[in-house]
Symmetry: C2
Subunit: 362 residues, 2 copies
Amino acid sequence: MNTASRGVVAKIVAGIESPSEQWITRARAHLDVLTKPLGSLGMLEDIAAQMVSIRRQDFAQPLQKAVYVFAADHGVTAEGVSAYPSEVTRQMVLNFLAEGAAINVLAKLHGVQMNIVDVGVDAHFDGLHGLLHCKVRRGTRNMLYEAAMSDAELAQALEVGSRLGAEAGAKGQSLLAVGEMGIGNTTAASAITSVLTRKPVQQVTGQGTGLDAGAQAHKRGIIEAVVQKYFPTVGIDSVPDPLEVLRCVGGLEIAAMTGLILGAARSGIAVVVDGFISTAAAASAFATEPRVRGYLFAGHQSEEPGHWVLLKYIGLKPILSLNMRLGEGTGAVLAMPIIESAMRLYNEMATFASAGVSEANL
Amino acid sequence: MNTASRGVVAKIVAGIESPSEQWITRARAHLDVLTKPLGSLGMLEDIAAQMVSIRRQDFAQPLQKAVYVFAADHGVTAEGVSAYPSEVTRQMVLNFLAEGAAINVLAKLHGVQMNIVDVGVDAHFDGLHGLLHCKVRRGTRNMLYEAAMSDAELAQALEVGSRLGAEAGAKGQSLLAVGEMGIGNTTAASAITSVLTRKPVQQVTGQGTGLDAGAQAHKRGIIEAVVQKYFPTVGIDSVPDPLEVLRCVGGLEIAAMTGLILGAARSGIAVVVDGFISTAAAASAFATEPRVRGYLFAGHQSEEPGHWVLLKYIGLKPILSLNMRLGEGTGAVLAMPIIESAMRLYNEMATFASAGVSEANL
């Protein structure tokens, strides 16, 4: 089953090593001699130690930051699961290219190179400048009636992402953010979350881009039907297959982000995940290969109720918590100055000895 | 009582206006037409609206950011309330000047102009380059036996801060961070917190720079004795006088930060407070004049247990929560890229109309 996609993933996963425990120990020892009370930089110390363990070196050079925003459409929008019409996916891609979206503003301010990837928008974008053209198909199939993708399509979407992850490594990029745009994709993310974490659909389904209570109940019903259709033994069958989950419920952008995370981990690059949807991709990557966890940072805690369930499932602690629910990679890029701060402190602070500062009496 | 300090404060407070409600309404309306789901930028929208209301204009120019780090010593360190010897205050000032401290690294990375102010370090700094020389006296008196300052000294410390706040306005600075360095100053901050908020000392006293349980109990005992000595009717007397609290327990850096916050508010400048100690200054300013609240941002939630008590007392929600407990203004400066992000999004994002993006169906 899923021979093509399984083949793609197996090749990448074989090359993923766990981040270095030795370098974590070394980083901790260095943090303890810097001119500050022991442990007083809190989570910044954890972030610095993790980055050092990923890179297996003390960082002398500045971080090279990039964000990859994957766009795709979802056949399930025919069921009325979103507050916005599905044409907004296409319109927002044009807004990204015109630099008018939230992610453009944040990427520019924080020095983050921006990549917009069409992996499955239901629009004719041929020849459009500034877009990475990687369309697998014009939107997924309606998961309520048939699997969102074929095995071949899933394989292709995974490869789009993993190739970009490998290329990022070749370009010297050292910190990636993943984000997405796809009307309907919280429906896909809720289905993935429910199946992978075995939580009831109700607990992991939220308002998306702004549904009212009635529309939310309708969306929940659709997701429950989908989960029942493809994964009737969830909670009985003990190991849901993450590739089969992606294939049945989508989306193409979630599969591509899964590929990017796997590819980046194989290249030894840190990835900051954004909100609910990109974290569903991270959870799919983690379910495929748990060693990716050491390469991941959670940019923020989003307002979507399924997000914390996924973060807990993977074992990630969010850096920011600003009640955002926008996507596009905005929460991930916003966490980058914090991660960069942690690395600069690690590299540039004086030690007690170098600064002639007395240590604690205790 | 406290004629001199009361005179200083009265003059500043008379010029403080509340931030503009009209501009908040106008900012909210603008946020709602930007290309994002309604409210999806969460706390960033609140931050942007507050900044617009403080400045009474849409921000076209970039923020001019500065941090003011006030250093002073505390006579109460003779009682063994800190994990570090009091000479560390002097040593850390030299570390600030040599650009080796955490705050130097963060200020440099985030484009924040750095000011180090000696308002009461127990050291001879005359002629030292790069330091703002505003020493009131070489450390406060030991509050366990006598009031930390005289009324004249308190007035002078408040004036140091308020003058810097006024000068910041004249220089065009639009976003200030306040921070401090002073061995022993969590003891002063805990005493202030207990008196102003009427919480038991136990609830608002933490480990400071890293005390063990025994040393923490000793510190708590000292603070309880101090509160009993100067404010025996706390909880009975319904309005503790914030200036009298500052005069009795100090410190000079807390009084100067109180002055800076009042002075900045009078100049219409936003101030980001840092952790427990600078928030004790903010609480003192707020207790003196509640209209300062609209000018304040809480950079982060520190690990000190008294900090959230103070934030709740003033009515501030922290931007970051990274388990930091370092001081120096580090948590405040680290929040500046978030505040700047909010303003840039407000100014630079496309609207639904300008980008040709469809609005929600609901």
